[in-house]
């Protein structure tokens, strides 16, 4: 490998063996605040984060996930765990009813949870972000001049804000529902906005530190709560009928949405990634200007005048400044201070964030389509079941019996499955306000990597899950 690459991929010091790691993850997941919920939403309780602890013992977090598995169940589990681990550094209080949540508060912030989290964090980061080492590679001798030319070339063809996921929302069968699903994906990030940045506000690194701090001051609304960016986003959510309590929609975050938010924590929590963080920050503050413009337009188009788009409009303005501050006051002075040797890491962060953006966009487009009935899971039940019955396809089957009210907390399958209801009634949830009711004899295909959950709507329900691999093979 060429020089200048921090060792995400490489083993880190003091790794846990695969078994010790599995045990530590299971122990972490055994915390009461991480257990499955009987409800789809968390009620004004920032400490509750459903981790599906029953899965954790079966997942191998000791390996680096390849790009093809980055939206799989192991990645989702890792991103949920990482969100929780990173956020143990942040302060959360519920607006009301603290006394009843005090036990959860202690369970989330206590030393065991923090220490176990820190033990498993390096492995989880390697598991979830190691693929970037293959996805993005910086090579050659970068100088100030070549870096300047690279940035100028980027500025000549800037991203135009034409995001596939925004288009998917606008073209959805139910644009309002799709837009709500879209907006809640950013809640993990925006409701704690700029928290990762604060991790790099401490210490002593000269003038750039004070410039860094100025951006944070803007993000935090100059100490005026109503202008704090997270507060603006709360207003946005509430204006379209969404809840704004932290992680209310925990079960509806896509893996890639958490991946995007956690990427900044991954960069900022590990200070050896400081220069990558600079690159990613510059990309965010630059490219997202146009994104915010498109987001604001989309909100108006879907919800009309009642939508509060201040959050997005504010970012069109302030990020024009932040973009300039990031390059003129942070990046160039840091290169001046630390030398051209840091440029490859800056380029790396700049490109990695784009790679993650592409993944997140695709994930959200696929989820919105699936919520809209594409592929039409229920229509596929007949042909896929016929293929299994005739023996054309061998599909290992698991039979499950569950009582009324049992709620399968959201997750993803790593391959397409056919869910077939033998008796009773089941509700399969495909996203916020999107579900299918399956009665005895009915079923549906659940595509690989699509977030879903289920609840039992009869006294008892017997159903089968057939792992079919690729459902399209059943159709030929």
């Amino acid at each position: 490998m060429t020089s200048g690459r921090p060792p995400t991929h490489a083993p880190y010091p003091y790794p846990l063996s695969a078994d010790a790691l599995r045990e530590a993850v299971a122990q972490y997941g055994a915390n009461p605040v991480y257990q499955d919920s009987a409800e789809w939403f968390n009620e004004d309780n920032p400490y509750r984060r459903q981790m599906r602890p029953q899965d954790l013992g079966h997942l191998d977090f000791s390996r680096v996930l390849p790009a093809s598995e980055i939206l799989g169940n192991s990645a989702l589990a890792a991103q949920r765990l990482l969100t929780s681990i990173y956020e143990a550094d942040m302060m959360y209080l519920p607006p009301t009813g603290f006394a009843e949540k005090r036990e959860d508060f202690s369970a989330f912030y206590n030393a065991s949870n923090r220490t176990l989290g820190e033990m498993i964090r390096p492995a989880l980061e390697r598991h979830a972000y190691g693929f970037l080492d293959d996805e993005v590679h910086v090579t050659g001798k970068w100088t100030r001049d070549s870096f300047r030319s690279y940035l100028e070339a980027f500025a000549e063809n800037p991203p135009n804000g034409d995001s596939p996921s925004i288009r998917a929302v606008e073209n959805s069968r139910d644009p309002e529902r799709a837009a709500r699903m879209y907006l809640l994906q950013f809640a993990a990030d925006f409701l704690s906005e700029a928290s990762p940045m604060v991790r790099n506000a401490l210490g002593n690194y000269g003038n750039p530190q004070s410039e860094w701090f100025k951006i944070i001051i803007d993000e935090y609304g100059y100490g005026v709560h109503e202008t704090k960016h997270s507060r603006l986003y709360e207003n946005t959510l509430e204006s379209v009928g969404l809840r704004s309590d932290v992680h209310h929609y925990w079960q509806f975050y896509l893996s890639s949405s958490l991946m995007m938010n956690n990427y900044f924590h991954f960069l900022a929590k590990n200070h050896e990634n400081f220069f990558r963080h600079l690159g990613a920050l510059y990309y965010t503050e630059t490219a997202l200007i146009e994104d915010c413009r498109s987001q604001s337009k989309m909100m108006r188009k879907v919800f009309g005048d009642s939508a509060d788009v201040t959050y997005f409009d504010e970012h069109v303005h302030i990020d024009t400044h932040h973009s300039r501050m990031a390059i003129d006051k942070l990046i160039w002075p840091v290169i001046e201070q630390c030398g051209e040797g840091v440029i490859p890491d800056i380029v790396r962060g700049f490109e990695e964030l784009q790679a993650i953006n592409v993944i997140a966009d695709r994930d959200l487009v696929d989820q919105i389509r699936w919520m809209d009935g594409e592929p039409a899971g229920k229509d596929l039940h007949g042909p896929v079941r016929a293929a299994i019955d005739s023996g054309t396809v061998t599909a290992p089957v698991t039979r499950v019996v569950e009582p009324r009210g049992k709620l399968t907390n959201t997750f993803v399958h790593d391959e397409d499955v056919l869910c077939h209801v033998v008796s009773g009634t089941m509700k399969v949830v495909c996203g916020l306000d999107s579900h299918h009711i399956l009665e005895a004899g009915q079923g549906m295909v659940i595509p690989r990597q699509r977030l879903h959950g289920a609840s039992i709507e009869s006294e008892e329900c017997v159903y089968e899950i057939n792992s079919v691999g690729d459902y399209r093979k059943c159709l030929s």
């Binding site: 996805e135 993005v136 910086v138 090579t139 050659g140 070549s146 870096f147």
Partner: protein, 110 residues
């Protein structure tokens, strides 16, 4: 300086600048932008294999060995994201870059 973006694989995997072809090499020794013409007699370095156990590419024409250590350590600045590479060439931005195709030896695509 001239910034060019092109594909690492398939049609369009080569940039030709002032008559010189460049490809993106992914090798066991590392990744780098390779000037794909042998400095000896202009042989096709994109078809070269490593002399076993070394970082020297052996030109298929006259077996002349070209070390890639400099390209690895201090080569043309470039970044690959997925299958797209962006490189900054030290020539005037007005220079015209042609995108072409060159077959690559297995040693350059691992």
């Amino acid at each position: 300086m001239l910034v060019v973006t092109w594909e690492t694989d398939g049609i369009g995997n080569c940039v030709v600048l002032a008559g010189k072809p460049y490809v993106y090499a992914r090798t066991t020794a590392g990744e780098f932008v390779l000037m794909a013409r042998c400095s000896h007699r202009g042989g096709p370095l994109h078809l070269a294999s490593f002399s076993p156990g070394t970082t020297r590419l052996v030109c298929p024409w006259h077996s002349r060995a070209t070390s890639v250590t400099k390209a690895l350590r201090a080569g043309i600045p470039a970044v690959r994201r997925g299958k797209r590479v962006t490189a900054v060439f030290d020539v005037p931005a007005t220079e015209k870059a042609e995108i072409e195709y060159r077959p690559l030896s297995p040693d350059l695509v691992c």
